[in-house]
């Protein structure tokens, strides 16, 4: 039984006087206990919206969420808000992209870590602070006793992200959702954080949903990878699968278009034409069609369904990249 089962999750933003935006459209994926699942895609493809929808953290107004988010077989979307609050932070932790803005600037770090323990573990402030100290130490923040009294702005970006991780993992949740946790950081710091995350996840058996636009990050971290484009999952596969034999033209294009440090391919990079804004509505076919090299007449017309591949993955494409082993 999967720990998290997202089924046909859609989020539509509706703003007065503007066309509704389908930020996430029929997103489905599962996360098994202890598993690390990647969610990759370019900016604006709906990664954050999906994760927020799972957590029930989308702004209350101006959007419609449909589908199911089963966590332990409980649908989080239909849960009473107070029950959901009981789970957030305790069963599911979350870390965000920008560690500075994600920490309250006027509250000492210690309190921000401690309050989650007070809330879910019923600790007293004193006890919670003591525990918080241990947590900060565990995520590699030097001199944690002093840090407890400091404010977020007194820490560097990497340290802040560590603090956020400490908060998210304070109650030993079974699922951690990390939304681009390293995008705002330098590579050397990114390496520190990723290593830390991996260790913590491995040690505690926490499942991880890793959201990123960096293919390299998922390549080193995830068991399964979901590639998203314009609000939909277009391809899902185990990471070796995905990087070895991408089926969706978009996945393939992406992989070919990023320069790699380890091989100098020299000369021109492969490029995907157009830009992510060159979309057509999903109902009219594949959103990627305008940019796709493999587009065929069938790509335009009806919605293209996400269909399971025989290797346990899934694919949403009418004209996928052929593989050696025919599907």
């Amino acid at each position: 039984m999967p720990l998290l089962d997202v089924r046909d999750l859609s989020v539509v933003f509706q703003r007065k006087g503007a066309e509704p935006v389908r930020a996430a459209d029929g997103v489905s994926f599962t996360v098994e206990p202890g598993q690390t699942v990647g969610l990759v895609g370019e900016s604006g493809c709906g990664k954050s919206v999906t994760s927020l929808a799972i957590m029930g953290l989308l702004p209350r107004r101006g959007n419609r969420v449909t589908g199911e988010v089963l966590f332990d077989d409980t649908d989080l979307l239909t849960l009473r808000p107070s029950d959901l609050r009981d789970r957030r932070g305790r069963d599911i932790g979350m870390i965000f992209q920008d560690p500075l803005s994600s920490l309250n600037p006027v509250i000492p770090l210690g309190v921000q870590v401690a309050e989650v323990l007070e809330r879910h573990r019923g600790r007293s402030r004193q006890a919670a602070l003591r525990e918080a100290r241990g947590l900060l130490d565990a995520v590699g923040i030097p001199d944690p006793a002093r840090r407890l009294k400091e404010f977020p702005h007194q820490l560097s970006g990497g340290m802040r992200q560590r603090a956020l991780i400490a908060i998210a993992l304070a109650c030993k949740p079974r699922l951690l959702i990390a939304d681009e946790p390293t995008t705002a950081l330098d590579v050397t710091i990114q390496a520190q954080i990723l290593t830390l995350l991996k260790e913590l996840v491995d040690d505690s058996g926490t499942a991880l949903v890793m959201i990123t636009h960096d293919l390299g990050v998922v390549a080193g971290l995830c068991d399964t990878v979901n590639v998203m484009y314009a609000g939909k999952v277009v391809e899902r596969a185990g990471r070796h699968q995905l990087f070895g034999e991408p089926r969706h033209p978009y996945t393939e294009g992406l992989l070919q278009s990023v320069p790699r440090l380890d091989v100098d391919r020299g000369g021109r990079l492969h490029q995907i034409r157009g830009s992510v804004t060159d979309n057509i509505p999903w109902s009219a076919g594949c959103a990627f069609a305008p940019r796709c090299d493999r587009v065929i007449d069938d790509c335009i017309g009806d919605t293209v369904p996400l269909e399971p591949t025989f290797r346990g993955g899934a694919l949403r494409c009418t004209n996928p990249v052929p593989t050696e082993v025919p599907a």
């Binding site: 370019e42 900016s43 590699g140 030097p142 001199d143 702005h153 007194q154 820490l155 560097s156 970006g157 990497g158 340290m159 330098d186 590579v187 050397t188 710091i189 990114q190 390496a191 520190q192 990723l194 290593t195 636009h213 960096d214 293919l215 390299g216 990050v217 998922v218 390549a219 080193g220 990471r239 070796h240 990087f243 070895g244 294009g253 992406l254 992989l255 278009s257 990023v258 320069p259 790699r260 440090l261 380890d262 100098d264 391919r265 000369g267 021109r268 990079l269 492969h270 490029q271 995907i272 830009s275 992510v276 804004t277 940019r291």
Partner: protein
């Protein structure tokens, strides 16, 4: 070997930190660029990498004298750039141009593409011949892959990649010899990045441009650069040909950097050994003594605290490195040791300061 187009010698850019009672006083300096020397040959691409805040942009801007260097020499095609004054400098700018990181904020939102491009021509008094100007704009747009119809549009109507093309077109319109590209692709989507990188390559080929490309993405730099300089906290710690650097990084920082870059290939990733650096980049307002990197270096020795290593040529490959123990580390004679992270407080100058204004004017408030 082609001729040297740009020579930078011991360039320093220090920003004063100011505060004062009635009038400002200098309290200290941000040592943004602190003694950098390098050469860029005509027609080549020099890539500059380093972590955020290490002074890459400042170096690029100092080179173009968009910020005033504190000391050092800049020679451009035999011209002493630092001695140029006022109008001389302004006219000289035609030869060296810049492309910015954020394609939105570097384009004046009030100007159409047309006027953005014509502006440079006007500044150098080349806008008199109307027909010639039109033709020039068209060909420039064409060279960056934008249709002529773009001329009447405004920056916000374009996608990120297109905006960056406009930024490049603006730099190109004056026919410069050197282009300093400050993170030209880091604000772009992955799928767009390649377009711009290719464009830069194509343009270099067809126009014989020289680039100084600044980026924090090593892979990108490696892809486009002939020579790569690695910066750390205001100074160059290593410089080499692209492949050379990847194959044989000499400086501990370069090694760590290279090992930290994730590679979109699980097979590679699974096998990689990482050199994890402890702690953060120290504040450039208060750099460590001696070797700037010593606070995070797993190979650091007492000597590193006392003496600042010079950037020197390591061997006949031409690779330059600024480390006292290059050879020892390379041979494995010196073993890495555990480093305790030193806590770095983020940039002091950036905290909002209260109290400079006698009376705040929140002008969004009506008064009675």
């Amino acid at each position: 070997m082609s001729e040297t187009l740009v020579r930078i010698d011991d360039l320093k850019v220090h920003f004063p930190i100011k505060s004062g009672l009635l009038f400002d006083r200098t309290l200290g300096y941000v040592y943004a660029v602190d003694g950098v020397s390098l050469e860029i040959r005509r027609g080549e691409t020099y890539g500059l990498v380093g972590e955020s805040g290490c002074g890459k942009s400042t170096l690029g801007r100092g080179l173009l004298r968009l910020v005033e260097p504190t000391s050092g020499e800049i020679t451009f095609d035999g011209v002493d750039v630092r001695s140029l004054k006022g109008e001389q400098l302004r006219l000289f700018r035609r030869r060296m141009q810049m492309v910015f990181q954020d394609p939105m904020s570097s384009l004046d939102p009030r100007q159409s593409v047309d006027s953005l491009l014509v502006e440079g021509l006007k500044a150098h008094d080349r806008h008199r011949d109307k027909a010639g100007v039109r033709a020039r704009l068209r060909s420039t747009l064409d060279s960056v892959g934008l249709p002529a119809s773009a001329l009447s549009k405004y920056p916000h109507e374009f996608s990120g990649g297109q905006r960056q093309r406009i930024g490049i077109a603006r730099a190109l319109v004056l026919g410069p010899e050197l282009i300093v590209a400050d993170e030209p692709v880091s604000a772009l989507d992955v799928s767009i990045q390649a377009q711009v990188i290719n464009l830069l390559g194509d343009l270099q080929e067809s126009l014989g441009l020289t680039y100084l490309v600044i980026a924090h993405d090593l892979a990108v730099v490696r892809h486009i650069s002939d020579t790569i300089g690695v910066m750390y906290l205001g100074s160059l710690v290593e410089e080499a040909q692209g492949d050379q650097l990847y194959e044989r990084p000499l400086h501990p920082y370069t090694r760590a950097l290279l090992s930290a870059v994730p590679i979109p290939d699980p097979r590679v990733e699974d096998r990689r050994e990482r050199i994890l650096l402890a702690g953060d980049l120290p504040s450039p307002a208060n750099p460590p003594s001696g070797c700037r990197f010593r606070t995070r270096c797993p190979w650091s020795q007492p000597r590193c605290t006392a003496e600042r290593p010079e950037l020197r040529i390591f061997d006949d490959s031409g690779q330059r490195v600024a480390c006292h123990f290059t050879a020892e580390i390379l041979t494995g004679e010196l073993r890495p040791h555990e480093v305790r992270a030193e806590l770095v407080h983020p940039d002091e100058g950036r905290t909002p300061e209260v109290g400079s204004e006698l009376i705040v004017t929140r002008t969004d408030l009506p008064t009675p």
